[in-house]
Subunit: 361 residues, 4 copies
């Protein structure tokens, strides 16, 4: 990943929890050469702790950055990890306790896990969509008794993220009423080893465990309204069907959308085309030039060909056309492990950094 912003005098050291797994590796890959953040610490399970990272991790894609290779893996314990900025790639079976422990110790945890996403005082954030939700942190810290600087910020399920980005401009402009969502999701969404090849080669699996409810509820929260102490979920109906297909990266999503008033396909297209998202999310190292790109090519977006647009941070929307039942149909594509996971967490951290949330590096 190459970054657009200028390099500060010094970088913030960051820690990656769950650093040896697939999501952890994506964090490390995306943070390589980051102008603001530097992977100073890697932490993982007791089994890996004490080993050099290069030995503890079976590196999956590309080349392991040498600086990180040489780090010693720490246990996931705030007493042994010092960075204030903590990216969590932990599995949900351990994320609950560990992330809370770090937050209590005054660390800002940017989490990919599902554990806290739906908690009333925890922001679930796509910066272009709902950066103001980060305002919940002050209340969260107080309510949970976290030390100064501590807190948990989550990003959403990867499919929910892509869908929410495509819908946010339309919800802002017209008010969503009903949304049908059918996803075709890449294998990398299941982590590593993840989907057995015998299950997916030349196949479609029309089921991903717990994915449909996540899509439905997480979109409501992200597109909801911030009050002082919580988020009022957006009030529209969602019906989701999730499918696994034999693509490597990128969730492609077919949407049928009804609004509170009649909206034409041209109106929807113009709205998506001009949307820039929250001011707070612009011009940061991981910000894409355009959070949403609209294509007019009849057979785009396509997963393999368009997934890396904006270095994996842009959502591409195409086939915007009238829906015979509701108002508008369209297709959206986003990168599940970049925009929908590690890249999204990093952008969340950048927003907080730009807002002065961290001690000067």
């Amino acid at each position: 990943m190459s970054f657009s912003s200028t390099k500060p005098a010094r970088k913030w050291p960051v820690a990656v929890l769950g650093a040896t797994g697939a999501v952890g590796q994506t964090f490390i890959r995306l943070l390589q050469g980051h102008p603001w953040f530097e992977v100073a610490e890697v932490a993982a399970s007791e089994r890996s702790a004490g080993k050099r990272y290069a030995e503890a991790a079976r590196w999956i894609e590309g080349t392991l950055p040498p600086d990180v290779a040489a780090l010693t893996v720490a246990p996931c314990d705030p007493a042994q990890v010092r960075s204030q900025i903590v990216f969590s790639a932990l599995d949900s079976n351990v994320a609950g306790e560990v992330e809370a422990a770090f937050a209590r110790a005054g660390r800002l945890v940017l989490s990919n896990a599902k554990n806290y996403r739906m908690d009333a005082d925890v922001p679930l954030v796509i910066p272009e969509v709902n950066a103001p939700h980060l305002g919940l942190l002050a209340h969260q810290r107080h309510a949970r008794g976290f030390a100064a600087g501590g807190g948990i910020v989550t990003n959403a399920n990867c499919a929910a993220t892509v869908a929410a980005m495509a819908l946010a401009p339309l919800h802002e402009a017209f008010g969503l009423d009903k949304v049908f969502v059918t996803t075709m999701q890449a294998i990398s969404g299941a982590g590593y080893p993840g989907v057995p090849s015998l299950d997916i080669l030349g196949n479609v699996i029309p089921y991903i465990g717990d994915e449909e409810p996540k899509i439905e509820r997480e979109m409501h929260k992200m597109l909801g309204q911030l009050t002082e102490t919580s988020i009022t979920p957006a009030d529209f109906a969602v019906s989701a069907q999730a499918n696994r297909v034999a693509t490597e990266n990128g969730h492609l999503i077919c949407l049928s959308i009804g609004f509170r008033r009649r909206v034409t396909a041209d109106e929807a297209a113009a709205t998506l085309r001009h949307w820039q998202g929250c001011e707070a999310a612009r011009g940061l190292p991981s910000s894409p030039e355009h959070p949403i790109v609209v294509t007019d090519v009849a057979d785009r977006p396509q997963t393999r060909r368009d997934v890396m647009l904006g270095r994996g941070m842009t959502v591409t929307v195409g086939r915007i056309r009238p829906d015979p039942i509701l108002d508008v149909k369209l297709v959206a594509l986003g990168h599940n492990t970049i925009r929908g996971a590690a890249g999204g967490s990093i952008l969340n951290a950048e927003v907080l950094a730009a807002q002065g949330a961290f001690d000067s590096a």
Copy 2:
């Protein structure tokens, strides 16, 4: 394909038009060992006419039946093709004229082409769903001045066929109101050479030319009501999104369905489970034991694993569950080149044969 029925004393000779292409080859493969029909003639373009079939066709899958290999390819001219039963695998750019010529000459044409599907006097038939529509033939013959025995029977677009089969029992029982259809269609649906591998390997293409309108209008006709001289289309709204995925055979379809009254997922499942389809379609050589099979396994049907159920003639339905916006969501899978093309045509011919439409063989 192995067949369930007993062999008659003699078989009807049949002709295959467009015999060298992918659909023509599927006809030949499925008719191998057929108890009632025997491929006696193969016809194709002038370029192929006069050659032995084995030389004219580049055989794609499995082994070319030796009897057919030895046939001489005839031109697509009713003067040079004598069978009364004519399976047409012609491209739509020639099917219009050629099929009409055969019908005028008193041949019964069972067509895969789209040309006549939407004509008022032409039956568009899935036997289990709407075998009575074959009753249009008498009117068609008269209106078009076809010789005795002549006529055109079409089968639908492959995706429309699979969706219509899953919906037919529900429409009969409850009355459809609104249907959202998102397809994930196999590459064999595009014929051969069809989809370039560079377009589909590790990719999804969210567009298939003219597929969505076909799905929408053909379902209305098939689920419509026969009058004396035409079909009154069914009156429900359809919104379709068609995608090409990297599967070999089998169209997997996600459906969200609203009825004219509240219907629970259990009611829908019970209805699908007990449906047997039109009496006229039962017990024929190509009839599957069950036209629809309902699965309770959470992640089924899957394209590669379930597509050959009922020798490719069964549609498998799974994931029947409540829809948060309409009534019921479900997933349906059917074989696009068997049930959705050549196999469907053959079953149409069997229905007619069983009704005495053809001279005794």
Copy 3:
């Protein structure tokens, strides 16, 4: 699988050890409707023992036969499993002890595991190639102190099996001197869950752990000569390179072959074409009509299109042509989980049954 032979009055009951795994499931699938054998007992690890098979196994492909679904899983203990004929799909980490225990108890174990393959007194058998090696059983029984009827018969690594079948006729006719073997092996060869999809989608992995030495040594043994108490390995040099590719079933193998005298491609082709293999292997329920089929089509055999020839028991050989360095180059394809695993074991048992090795059923 449909079988060619007539059904005996009664069937032999057989047990499958390791019945819940991928290879065990293949045994059960292939034995469905077998005219001589009936799956009477299924055994697996302690974790599964006591459960109904349908609950203990996550059935992967096709439909679980209802008779087997209802069986209670036994532990892998000869005291609790009574069949004399025992198919072993055990992992190599437990196969050593368990298979010996069954053999000691007078059971005939047909094993897919690698543990005993290279033992001097254990036959490693492809019936068409070296059925006489089964003669080692008497010596094995005596030497190891197995009860009457007890013994272990192994079949080879799946890639070694396919290569050995293609080479056996040539070795018999001309004497092999040097063989270069490059394999392209299907994912099912790694079992289930086996190869992660992220590792193989759009990829080739030029390495399969321990596969190359197995190919080299097991071919020597199978093509070797039986003495009274052991096998003298064949004396030719083998260099193997093993690759994993994104195919479901079927190992495709490129071979360059040098003989002890000059051999032309035509001689090699004629030899392969006329080969029928050992008399003992003919006409059995699982015997293919032709153990080897030679194709003249320039671009065949192809994995997906030819793998099921002879119900997965035929090896297809093509592209037989002169080698610029040695004598002959060719391509061979065989089904790895049928011919190269469970199907091979079953054929071994059929040979023994036909030779009267088992009490009358």
Copy 4:
């Protein structure tokens, strides 16, 4: 593609012949942002001539550079194309005449077509391997009566290129005697539309038309010795087997190698590790940092994961180990459309530019 070298004051204008096809598009993609060359002209068949490039070409991968999109397509006629540097992506059925016409007119043609590759006076060049062969140009120009500056330089078949790069260091050091080559080649090697998806999904095709003889003869020429007026081919034996597999980009090649003296795997590895290739090929804009990278990871190189090393210009070699029959076995991987096609041509042009072959830009 990002380039390592500094930008000269002005760039050389270049033309791309056959600019609308797959190889032509690769040239345009790779030349985007090139520090020395600028696509000033695009030429194609009469059918495309006169149109804007954006209309004439169906752009396949990524985003069409706007500068090129706006160009008007010229016919492939030296009277209407003025650049001295001409990249030819023409099909072999027209390349013969057109390339000669451009060379006669004093243009330096860098060709991907096979037509002139084996002509005695035409250099077939991989710069790191045999840059001195470019010395043939003077003789070629004289012998063929080309105008000053005119000439034809070819690059090899993509599989031959990858194999030759891996073999060149070993041939230089030890002298090759015998080489067995088995390739697993990506679908992009067949151009677009190229391989039908029905042919390759879940399949291996053990045949690529005319590929094996090309590999055998082109390696001999590239590894041969330059005399004043021709190349003396290298004197070693090659046996090649070419396979098509379902990968997008990258030809993976298994090699078994015998030398004129005993060579150990360690010697071979050390030689490959230290090789830098011809001085003339270093430090150019398209030069990779290392033309060959040796990996010690047991299961690498892998096609999808390693193909982009060195921006597609590096060949990765792994699994260097003793061969039981010859001396050494290894696996090599290179990018077929970058290193093995357009990227190789561009590097050839850079060598010539660096040697002062072109008028100052």
